[in-house]
């Protein structure tokens, strides 16, 4: 694999910044990104497709009289295209309106050290190895039960690198790897089809268990075959990481982002130091977490990643800031400016959003439940009210728990309520943490969740 070297990426960024300053920008920041991904795809029960994607580009942000312009291009080996990009950013800025709250790009700060974010072995993974992992996973799923049908899945590896330079002297380069395998299955029996059940492994270093992924996905879909309706009432619900990730992404995460707080779009406004959730919950945004999926040296503005306490024993401790929102309050950025490659300007997002584990094992948590539900997959969480936190979603499916045992699944069960009320009613926090996208969390148990049966 041929990748852009550190010095090539840094000099591309430096040259773009230099050009912008020469052409009249008062400040400039260039971000260079490279992503190379290889994927072996499973479709309709067989390995049938492969992907190899190379995406590189540069984006530049310029400031002229407190107006901001941005431009990007993926034509990086042509000096003219880069010059055109700089001109586009400047013309965009000149067309724009000045922002009295603009207080400058971030200043240089030392980066912390991070670990387990790059693995030579992952970077060097060949297609043969990926195909082997995919076959292993597929066979493991098929061996569980004949009624299992692997619908979709894959095995992939990616190399990602980024370089940033700004006119305040920030300069940074980082590279990392990600490897993953995933399988979505359903079970079919006498014309009945289960919802899609899904398992996966994702890691920064080579750490995959395709047999586990295949088996778990298959077992879940088989257990979804036996289905009975449940009654409409308020009950105990165990939220697995799948469900938590869905529910929090469109609600709690918005509420702790400084931009939303400043713009009156967060129920957490004015609640700093107040108890906002159950005291069982402690949440850190940890951009330095060892091996974390979102662990990098710096954020999308070249600000060092850090660990920020968001909620401690239920008490709100910090919002998440990028440079702009921090300076608006004369604070420091928490290193939460996120970018989608070279195509976008930075915006606030979580790094590794870490709900700290408790000491209740998964089995103990199930045993505690006399009458309740356990929820894996949710449908429709993105339709939640992103400001108030109200949600109305379907569990696909939910599993019923009776006297500490999972007895059967139930389809079409709806959960409705307000996420901030649910978070106040957390009674147990598990010890079984795992990472899913930005979220790293254990299972949590919530009391009094409104369930609408069929």
């Amino acid at each position: 694999m041929v990748v852009l070297e550190k010095n090539v990426m840094l000099s591309l960024a430096e040259n773009a910044v230099k050009a912008a300053l020469q052409k009249g920008a008062q400040e400039a920041e260039a971000y260079v990104y490279e992503g190379q991904a290889t994927n072996i795809g499973i479709e309709l029960g067989q390995i049938s497709k492969t992907h190899r994607i190379i995406d590189r580009g540069v984006g530049i942000r310029v400031v002229v009289n407190k107006t901001i312009g941005f431009s990007y291009t993926n034509i990086i080996d042509d000096g003219k295209a880069v010059e055109f990009m700089v001109n586009s950013a400047l013309s965009a800025a000149k067309a724009s309106k000045s922002d009295p709250n603009w207080k400058g790009l971030p200043q240089k700060k030392p980066f912390a050290t991070i670990e387990k974010t790059f693995d030579e072995k992952v970077a060097a993974l060949g297609s043969e190895e990926l195909v082997n992992v995919a076959s292993t996973m597929l066979e493991a799923a098929e061996e569980v039960d004949k009624r299992v049908f692997p619908v979709d899945g894959g095995v992939g590896s990616a190399y990602i690198s980024s370089a940033i330079t700004n006119s305040n002297g920030i300069t940074g380069f980082d590279k990392g790897t990600i490897v993953e395998c995933s399988l979505a299955t359903l079970a079919k029996e006498e014309g009945a089809v289960t919802p899609v059940c899904f398992e996966f492994n994702t890691a920064r270093t080579y750490n995959l268990d395709p047999v586990w992924v295949g088996k778990e996905a298959a077992k879940l879909s088989i257990s979804a075959l036996k289905t009975k309706s449940v009654e409409t009432k308020s009950t105990t619900v165990i939220l697995t990481q799948f469900a938590l990730q869905e529910l929090l992404a469109y609600t709690l995460i918005n509420a702790i982002e400084a931009d939303n707080v400043q713009r009156d779009q967060s129920p957490f406004k004015g609640k700093m130091g107040a108890t906002v959730t159950s005291e069982k919950l402690t949440i850190h945004d940890d951009g330095l977490l060892s091996g974390g999926l979102r662990t990098w040296l710096f954020d999308g503005e070249g600000v060092p990643h850090q660990k920020t306490a968001v909620i401690e024993r239920g008490v709100l401790r910090n919002y998440l800031y990028d440079n702009y929102s921090a300076k608006k309050e004369a604070k420091e950025s928490t290193g939460n400016a996120s970018r989608s490659g070279y195509l976008s300007t930075p915006s606030i997002d979580t790094t590794n959003f870490h709900i700290l584990p408790g000491n209740t094992t998964a089995n103990q948590m199930l045993n505690e439940v006399d009458d309740g539900l356990i929820v894996y997959y949710l449908q429709g969480a993105h339709s939640s009210n992103p400001v108030s936190g109200e949600f109305s979603v379907v569990a696909t499916p939910a599993w019923k728990i009776e006297k500490g045992e999972i007895t059967h699944s139930s389809r079409g069960v709806m959960l409705a309520g307000n996420i901030f009320e649910v978070l106040k009613n957390i009674s147990l926090v598990g010890s079984n943490e795992r990472q899913m996208g930005s979220l790293i969390a254990p299972w949590v148990q919530a009391e009094n969740v409104r369930v609408i049966g069929k």
Partner: protein, 461 residues
């Protein structure tokens, strides 16, 4: 460009024995704006060049994407794709074949009345700012207004080893406004999207001030809305909700790849799965609409596909691979977001055909239920479970539309719910939107007002 792409495809067919090869080269220009209240967060302009290469070798797909038009790089990429496909093909149980598609040589030119490329960034900012200003000024309780704007122009060159060669202009203009209102500890949120493939004349129809006012008014009205009671209720759905209902509760299941994956429509072709009033189309030919295009990303002409007629499943949306499996014609539904991704089966403009009822007739038969006017999000599952979130709704009491409710959703199973369509209106509206299926597609959907005799409503009260 054509000669280059022919040469690259020949590498796959001649050197690696590929059964099929296609190359899709695109150059895309984008302008994006994010306006928060009266602040231009950033005015953004960008250029992307790249090629998507797809080959079929021994019945397995190989796909490669690179951001370059350089012959040597493209030859390397297509060679990699062929080798990887060959490797993946070793365990195939059912080798992939393609349905025949008409060989096309065409140049599709877009003819906007107002080309977004000719409009200055200043003017675009002025337009977007007019939206947020009106929204904010509508009422003191409106606290935030965000307008996102995007225009995309460019050209897509498509050449395949069957001899098809198409040069097609791309043009999209899109905007989204969100507003939030706060009063007495109650937070509300309202959103609306607009979009067109015609041109910047979109803003002659969607007057910026009116859009701002509409979204702000909804956020303010919601301040007085009550949480609703969950359970089974009769409901009247507005065209905006019907569109998403058609899209989520049926559209995804009628995507042939998902039908093959075990989706519930697979075994129901030609069978009656809904009431006589249910007729759905997916139509890529509505000129200027957000889901319209002439040729899809496999070079197949876009058409109007009948999906369900009078309750009977009549057709699916196909690409060339699924059309071969179903012994059907490709329908022109293979779409790729850009050159970074492969084409997959996507909807275009999916809608329900109108019938004969007035809105009053639909509502007057409901003793106790809801009128859901406008949606926020929706999702489908292969087993037929659908969910549609509601951002604006009202109670119906004794045949009359009553007080507003907030943050509800409806859910059910397609095979049960389509039988519950018991009355269909004579009005008709289409709204633009975006659909996520790993990639984002620009689509639209709609229909008339309809009534469901019963559906599960998720509410927390």
């Amino acid at each position: 460009m054509k000669d280059l792409l022919v040469k690259i495809n020949n590498v796959a067919t001649e050197k690696f024995g590929a059964q099929y090869a296609e190359a899709r080269a695109q150059n895309l220009y984008k302008t994006m704006l994010t306006i928060k209240e009266e602040r231009v967060e950033a005015a953004k302009q960008g250029i992307e060049n790249g090629v998507a290469l797809r080959v079929l070798v021994n019945g397995a797909w190989g796909f490669a994407s690179v951001g370059s038009f350089e012959s040597g790089i493209l030859e390397g990429a297509i060679s990699d794709a062929c080798r990887m496909a060959k490797l993946a093909s070793t365990g195939l149980k059912m080798p992939i074949k393609l349905a025949l598609a008409k060989v096309v040589n065409d140049r599709v030119v877009s003819r906007p009345k107002k080309n977004p490329s000719d409009i200055s960034v200043e003017d675009k900012i002025k337009t977007a700012m007019a939206v947020t200003k009106t929204g904010l000024g509508f009422d003191d309780r409106v606290k935030s207004c965000t307008m996102d704007y995007l225009d995309l122009t460019g050209t897509s060159f498509f050449v395949n080893s069957d001899g098809t060669s198409i040069e097609q202009d791309k043009l999209y203009v899109w905007g989204r406004l969100t507003a939030s209102a706060v009063s007495g500890g109650v937070f509300t949120f309202s959103r609306e999207e607009i979009g067109s493939t015609a041109g910047y004349e979109l803003f002659d129809e969607q007057i910026p001030e009116k859009l701002g006012e509409k979204v702000a008014k909804r956020a303010v009205d919601q301040l007085n809305a009550k949480s609703l009671k969950g359970g089974k209720f009769p409901v009247v759905l507005g065209p905006n909700v019907v569109g998403v209902f058609v899209h989520e509760a049926f559209g995804h299941l009628a995507e042939a790849d998902l039908a093959l994956s075990g989706g519930v429509l697979a075994g129901n072709f030609g069978k009656k799965i809904g009431s006589d009033l249910v007729t759905f189309y997916d139509d890529g030919t509505i000129e200027g609409s957000f889901g319209a295009f002439r040729y899809d990303d496999e070079g197949v002409a876009s058409n109007k596909t009948l999906l369900i007629k009078d309750g009977v499943v009549a057709g699916l949306m196909h690409n060339r691979e699924t059309a071969q499996k179903f012994n059907a014609e490709p329908t022109g539904n293979a779409r790729a977001e850009d050159f970074r991704v492969e084409p997959i089966i996507r909807m275009r403009c999916t809608y329900m055909a109108p019938r004969d009822q007035t809105f009053e007739e639909l509502v007057e038969k409901v003793k106790s239920g809801y009128y859901f006017k406008s949606f926020r999000g929706g999702q489908a599952n292969l087993d037929g479970t659908f969910q549609v979130g509601i951002q604006e709704g009202f109670e119906i009491v004794n045949g009359e539309v009553g007080p507003p409710i907030r943050d509800a959703s409806i859910s059910g199973n397609t095979l049960e719910t389509l039988h519950k369509v018991d009355a269909v209106g004579k009005d008709f509206l289409i709204d633009p939107g975006r659909c996520g299926k790993g990639q984002t597609a620009f689509i639209c959907d709609g229909g008339p007002h309809i009534r469901l005799s019963e559906v599960v409503v998720g509410g927390s009260a």
